[in-house]
Symmetry: C7
Subunit: 96 residues, 7 copies
Amino acid sequence: MAGIRRLVLDVLKPHEPSNIILAKVLSELEFVDGVNLSLYEIDQNTENVKITIVGDNMDFEEIKRTIERLGGVIHSVDEIVAGKKIVETVMTEQDR
Amino acid sequence: MAGIRRLVLDVLKPHEPSNIILAKVLSELEFVDGVNLSLYEIDQNTENVKITIVGDNMDFEEIKRTIERLGGVIHSVDEIVAGKKIVETVMTEQDR
Amino acid sequence: MAGIRRLVLDVLKPHEPSNIILAKVLSELEFVDGVNLSLYEIDQNTENVKITIVGDNMDFEEIKRTIERLGGVIHSVDEIVAGKKIVETVMTEQDR
Amino acid sequence: MAGIRRLVLDVLKPHEPSNIILAKVLSELEFVDGVNLSLYEIDQNTENVKITIVGDNMDFEEIKRTIERLGGVIHSVDEIVAGKKIVETVMTEQDR
Amino acid sequence: MAGIRRLVLDVLKPHEPSNIILAKVLSELEFVDGVNLSLYEIDQNTENVKITIVGDNMDFEEIKRTIERLGGVIHSVDEIVAGKKIVETVMTEQDR
Amino acid sequence: MAGIRRLVLDVLKPHEPSNIILAKVLSELEFVDGVNLSLYEIDQNTENVKITIVGDNMDFEEIKRTIERLGGVIHSVDEIVAGKKIVETVMTEQDR
Amino acid sequence: MAGIRRLVLDVLKPHEPSNIILAKVLSELEFVDGVNLSLYEIDQNTENVKITIVGDNMDFEEIKRTIERLGGVIHSVDEIVAGKKIVETVMTEQDR
């Protein structure tokens, strides 16, 4: 296992296609092992979701195209994990 | 294991049939492994429950029909987990 | 294992019979594996307890009759877990 | 293993005999596996301690007599765990 | 394993001998497995430390004499664990 | 395993090259096992990221050169873990 | 394993030599297994770091000399763990 292993994306999308479909389609990309899609804000025509994608050697451009093909826009990439080992962020004295 | 693996639903329902029955009926759907139903608000005629459903290749439409057949309405799908691996949402610097 | 696996009950009861007796009697029901009874409010004649019951294929009506036979009343069923797997509730972005 | 498995007691006691002695005597009861005694308030002549006792098929009356023989009084039984399995209390939406 | 298994002590001591020496001497008592000494307040001539001692069948009087021989005074015994099993204190509804 | 094992860096960088590229390039350094890059502030031309790098006998100068080659500047090294064992920081009474 | 097993030190040091060097040199002492160095305050000419050192039968005087040789001063020894077992500090009712 190597390359991009986990991504946390902040995505703005229309209500349709549904989040069920978006999560399923992303989870079916060849290099993806699993997807967590959490809804955090709903407006009249759009909604904001936080998407966590785990996999091996993930192709960010293909993930981006998939989200855009379903009407979504990536607002920011909040976390990237890359390499042989999954590394979690560490709380330091600077964060307290 | 693949497809939809976990759903968190916000559901409005009448007091009857009881939550005991709703949890049991959902847990008996063929593709469901387990259900957690938590009550978070009670009004005179209705109540709001948070339902977490875990399974393999879950059929959202059948879950929805089952809830509606027992008088409930899904207000929102708060989280969807899909794919070979169960992925938990990750706290990032953006959430602090 | 299937059916109702865990229940969290909010119960109002008189001081006698004691909580020791109530916990023991519930734990001796055939389908029950264990009981946690926590006291959270005491008044002059009554007390409020939170009862968590774990088991397999639990019969809610029998649990209810047992509590009522010992003078208690179930105020609400706060959580129900059902199915082959014990599912915990998941914190979502909606809960933050 | 069955019957009463864990008790959390709120006890008022004189300074003597010491908490060291009280914890030791309770831990030597035949049906007790372990005792945790925590001091939470000291007054001029008395102190309040929280006692957690773990065992198998514990005899509450004998525990009570032991505490009283050493000058203590049980103010309340804050938690009782009974049955084949140790069940922990579960945080529900009602507790948030 | 039985008897006193863990003690948490609140100790007032002079700056000398150092905490390094106090921790080491306590850890070398025959019935002690390990010691954690945490500094929580420093004054001009004295300091307050919280000492957690883990062992088997520990002799409180010998621990006390050892601390006093090095100039310290036990202000309070905040927690005592005794018996075959190490029991942790349990958060109950009364603590919330 | 020895030498520098984990570093937490506070880095200021331009938007391009992207964080995806920075995380990937760092994860491909020979002595690196994994990288976590978290975005915590975005300004018009720059962004601040917290980078956690895990590996064996890591060469800080090479990590620094790599970051600078991609336009970034290390503002501070917030945590360093070195040696045969990964040691986590410990909360003491002084931190409460 | 015995003697001093873990130390948490509050150290004031000049910016140079760097923390990378200080962590590495400490981790290379024969009796040290691992070092965590966390930066918590930076001033114009000095910085404050919290150093956690884990090892077996550690020689405090040699650690102190090593830190002083690199220009640092130990302000306080915040925690000492000694003995056959690593003992963590325990939260008691007195800490709540």
